[in-house]
């Protein structure tokens, strides 16, 4: 039962409190769990943590990821072609959690993986594996209530997305319902480093504050330390970088040791840019 005791700690709240004291923002790398295989995936996640990641955003491979560009799609394909199953994904996270009791771990995935397992079972399995939060890319606020209800029962935080085109009503609803952090979309479109983030106008950040949304982490199109710095200066609580991280994996599949070194130093550079 050590897991559930550890999980009753609000790791995100603790993280943001500590970062505040150090006058830093958060850097959160994203990788696909199981990419390219189970053992390399565990090593990859450990390298991200060694590099200084403040929290982890982990994807589950899915056959039809409509919110993802080519880089993350390929990561899914690599994992799925190695026959990675949902059970394997939870096992990988269990191993990471056992070694790192304090780092917040978030999942970013698609609704059908959750529904097929059963919402309650999926969230409970995630909790047991040591997951802190779940963001479902294709569940907008309008469909979110039954997921939020199960999240509350199990102690998982349901992460909500604030898109750049969100209406005031949407932001107000996110304010009411968000927990852990808010995923602030840096631009329209799908994931990918090819199209750069647009740093949000201070007006949007002011609105997020006004509606009391959980701390906003800016994502989509963040691949350089300068973008991380800009994100944090604009008022975001931190930055998430997915495709840039996954690109390092894709480019170094044949040389895993070099891949891990590069991932670690990438995270270190990005993290260094979070100092205010």
């Amino acid at each position: 039962m050590t897991n559930s005791v550890a999980n009753s700690i609000d790791r995100y709240a603790k993280l943001f409190e500590q970062l505040d004291q150090k006058n830093e923002g958060a850097f959160v790398p994203f990788v696909m769990v199981g990419d390219p295989d189970i053992s390399t995936s565990v090593n990859i996640i450990n390298a991200l943590i060694s590099g200084g990641a403040d929290a982890l955003e982990l994807g589950f491979p899915y056959s039809d990821p409509i919110a993802d560009g080519p880089t993350i799609q390929q990561a899914s394909i690599r994992a799925l072609s190695n026959k990675i199953k949902t059970d394997d994904n939870f096992e990988i996270i269990r191993q990471v959690r056992a070694a790192h009791p304090n780092i917040p771990i978030g999942l970013l995935l698609y609704s059908n993986l959750v529904l097929k397992r059963g919402i309650e079972k999926f969230y409970q399995d995630a909790m047991n594996a040591g997951v802190d939060s779940i963001l479902i890319a294709d569940v907008p606020l309008r469909e979110a209530d039954r997921f939020i209800a199960v999240a509350k029962q199990t102690g998982i935080k349901q992460i909500l997305i604030a898109p750049p085109n969100a209406s005031d009503d949407t932001l107000a609803e996110i304010g009411e319902k968000s927990q852990g952090y808010t995923y602030l979309l840096g631009r329209a479109g799908v994931t990918g480093a090819e199209t750069a983030v647009t740093i949000p106008a201070s007006a949007l950040i002011d609105k997020l504050t006004q509606y009391k949304v959980a701390p906003p982490l800016l994502g989509f199109g963040i691949s350089t330390p300068a973008q991380v710095k800009d994100a944090i200066q604009s008022g975001a609580a931190g930055a998430i970088s997915g495709s840039a991280t996954v690109n390092i994996i894709a480019e170094n599949l044949s040389q895993p040791e070099i891949m891990l070194d590069k991932l670690q130093s990438f995270v270190t550079e990005m993290k260094a840019a979070t100092h205010k």
Binding site: S111, N112, R142
Partner: protein, 395 residues
Amino acid sequence: MNHLDSKFGDYGGMYVPELLIPALDQLEQAFIDAQKDPDFQAEFMGLLKDYAGRPTAMTLTRNLVNNPKVKLYLKREDLLHGGAHKTNQVLGQALLTKRMGKTEVIAETGAGQHGVATALACALMGLKARIYMGAKDVERQAPNVFRMRLMGAEVIPVHAGSGTLKDAVNEAMRDWSASYDKAHYLLGTAAGPHPFPTIVREFHRMIGEETKAQILEKEGRLPDAVVACVGGGSNAIGMFADFIDEPSVKLIGVEPAGKGVHTAEHGAAIGKGTKGILHGAYSYIMQDNDGQIEESYSVSAGLDYPAVGPQHAYLSDIGRAEYVSVTDDEALNAFQILSRKEGIIPALESSHALAHALNMADEAEEETIIVVNLSGRGDKDLAHVHSILGDQNHD
């Protein structure tokens, strides 16, 4: 909040990134306004009549059925401009595109029929069309690719995933999530997120309305059954919509059994699938135990889709419509029979509906009137069928 019901029982909904919700809401509002706007309706009806050729004929088959108790009618959507029912709703959505002030259209296509319909409507209305098509489909549907390009559409091959229709839909949705300000996603079937299943049904419902009027005129009574093929389910829902509240009329949807529903190679989402979410809607889908989407299969590219429109899932669950399946071989057989006996070459999709209707006709013991929605013509399938049958049927 939605102004129209976004669900059919539990099915349907809007399972898309938050980013797309404003675009879907804008579309819903434009549709609601257009349905009440006499100018929009007049323009839509005018195009259907003078450009597309509505109403389409209703043909009583002369030689197809041996059972004297059975009358088998064909609703001739194959005669519509473009060669299939698809043109109906594409004209409607193209008008909505203009109404929303958008200048570009994104579409997906499998066999190419929806792509061709989109291309012709965009040529007519001065809209810029880009059409995503699985790389495999681009190869096996070369004549339709040429048709689309001839009418000015850009055809973009999709190499991701299985390189077929479902991947083309994924890519169209990805495009839309970056371009919704000036582009409309002109989805081609009665599936996808709300409001598409409702819009597509309403823009095809004249199929059933005409059928009802025509059969009443010819027979003085309603048919005993209407039969339509179901991939995503647009022609079927267009045929069913006006008969749902007529309990004496059986609604029968025919899914592709491919090489047999006991094999992995079929596309019978209602018959053999399980509940889940694909392309924004909760419905019956083909998936593995983890929820990864499985690839469907059918000899007919237009039915080769691993999900089904959410209203069909609902009609099946409440028992209002019945869904059966027909194999490749049965469909190919019906394709040849209709050609030989009536001089009408049907689309392979529609051949599925016809094959089931022929079985019903053989088994009928009472006076029975059946209407098959002949949703498209077979010109696009000639090379494919020729390659399967060779020259065996030339005797």
